[in-house]
């Protein structure tokens, strides 16, 4: 029988290592390398091998795939009567635009205490403070007196500077020679929420 002879000796189907199961996970080839380069080639192969061994599990990478953009039709199909208001559309009102003139220098600060009640500043209100505005007499300011923050009305008169409370139960602060005053910013609005 011919099958008998085929089973004896020679290459057998399915024998040996599985294809691509070696350390490089692909076919390899024998090659002559000059002695002086053996180290370099070996270390290159080591690096390559370590990359193969790395924990990268790639599902289906195709990083070089050309980008393809399919245009989207953005204009809607006009069905029905055009709106008579279209020509009269205006921007909606934006409180930010109304209240904030210098975005970079505007900060929100929360008030506490009742010293400015008569100026409409209640405890818990949010003050809009602009650091860029000049501290003119009569403005409500955030001041730093000897390192402490306070909100008061600034008065400058004949070389004297004072910070006035807007509530008769509170004392004004006179700025004397020894104390240090920094105007941190000018209060431009108060946000008082009822609900």
């Amino acid at each position: 029988m011919t099958t008998n002879t085929q089973n004896r000796g020679g290459a057998r189907l399915g024998a040996g290592r599985k294809k691509n199961s070696g350390k490089f996970k692909e076919d390899t080839k024998v090659m002559r390398v000059p002695l002086s380069l053996v180290g370099t080639v070996a270390s290159t192969l080591e690096v390559y091998k370590s990359q193969l061994k790395s924990d990268m599990e790639v599902l289906k990478p195709d990083f070089d795939a050309p980008s393809l953009s399919i245009p989207i039709f953005s204009s809607r199909v006009q069905a029905g009567f055009p709106s008579p208001a279209d020509d009269h559309l205006e921007d909606q009102l934006d409180l930010n635009k109304h209240l904030i003139h210098h975005q970079e220098s505007t900060f929100f600060v929360r008030a506490q205490g009742e010293s400015m009640l008569n100026a409409g500043i209640h405890p818990g209100d949010i003050l809009i403070v602009d650091k860029s505005l000049p501290a003119k007499s009569g403005k409500i300011v955030i001041a730093v007196v000897d390192g402490e923050f306070t909100v008061k009305r600034l008065y400058k008169y004949k070389g004297k500077v004072s910070l006035k409370a807007e509530n008769p139960e509170f004392k004004d602060i006179e700025i004397n020679e020894g104390s240090e005053l920094i105007i941190w910013g000018v209060v431009t609005s108060v946000i008082h929420q009822y609900v």
């Binding site: 289906k60 393809l68 929100f108 390192g147």
Partner: protein, 416 residues
Amino acid sequence: MSKPNQQKFALVDCNNFYASCERVFDPKLAREPIVVLSNNDGCVIARSNEAKSLGIKMGTPYYQVKDLIIDKSVVVKSSNYPLYGDMSSRVMKVISQYSPVQEVYSIDESFIDLTGFTINLNTHMQALKNQVKSWTGIPVCVGMGSTKARAKLANRIAKIYPKFNGVFDIDSLPNDRFKKLLNSVEVAEIWGIGHKSAQKLEQIGINTAYDFYKADIGIIETLLGVNGKRIYRELYGHSCLAIEEIPPARKQIVSSRSFGLDLSDFDEINQALTSLTRRAVSKLNSQSLATTSMSVFIYTNPFKKNTPCINLSKTIGMSAPINDEGLLIPLCSKLLKQIYEPGYKFYKGGVMLGNLTPDKNQQDLFAVGQNRTELKKHPYGNTLRYASELGNDRWLPRAEFQSNRFTTCWGELLIV
């Protein structure tokens, strides 16, 4: 004064930026020594001048200087990046009013191009310095020069010598004075000379900026390559490095943290990584990017003796770009499940999104996530959480000394 055809750059650099931010909202600290600690209160990453003169070095672990800090009553702050980031963008916007060409170089530095300006540049930059200070409360110094490397050097001078009032033009310096200045600068302090390059240079006896300046250009090029050559030429006033107005697109997004304390429990680590993934995805979406690979990693503290050390990570690639946190969060948990090994104390973990591509929704017929989910955009986005994000929050980094997020959080406004 500059010649008409000469290029002119300015580097605007905030003085002790993090410490200055803290001072804006706490004026009591004006003359106090301040240090700011890195994430998780590990190391000193910023110092006020007062803290510098106490000899506290950059990068020192907190515990090493704790005694000195208590002894000299140094004010300690945990880093408050929401505050610093917001203050930085305010400073950058003010700077942008002074030149049509601006490069935001780092959180506290910006280059601007002043080439062709016919006005008095010193006056112009004094106005910039004063406006930044009065609008934001942050002090800055300005260095000017015919190249970016020279502007950077000039900034150093502006910072050191009060007589220049915070603004200095290095091109106004006579040649002999310029050389004397270079002699006082270490080669590692030249802009663009990194730690490794400096070591190479020091090996052949180039220790100061002046040694570098008078060295042979061929030697510099052999040693440091074309980048070193560029910096060399920049010092001589040949502009080789242009202003980069558009920041180069990100190659990868990493979101990682040292945990508040070592974690061993799977659910606790998963909670941390879910939060970190959400953070990474929100960065991804804010830049309109999508990712095609995700890595998850956790490791034990390599410095801790007598405990087993392990470093675990796994990366997965995707067939189509993804930008949906609803897909990436389960993927993160899946990867974590594969690498997690019980019995170790993990001290740090994170996720990395790699191979970023512009987010084009219709790129691929098989692409997923056309209706991407991002809880942040939901009306209750600030309170909604993924289930895996819930837990005991033990992973949260320590930030014992953090000031309020005065400018980004309604509940933490300055109170007067």
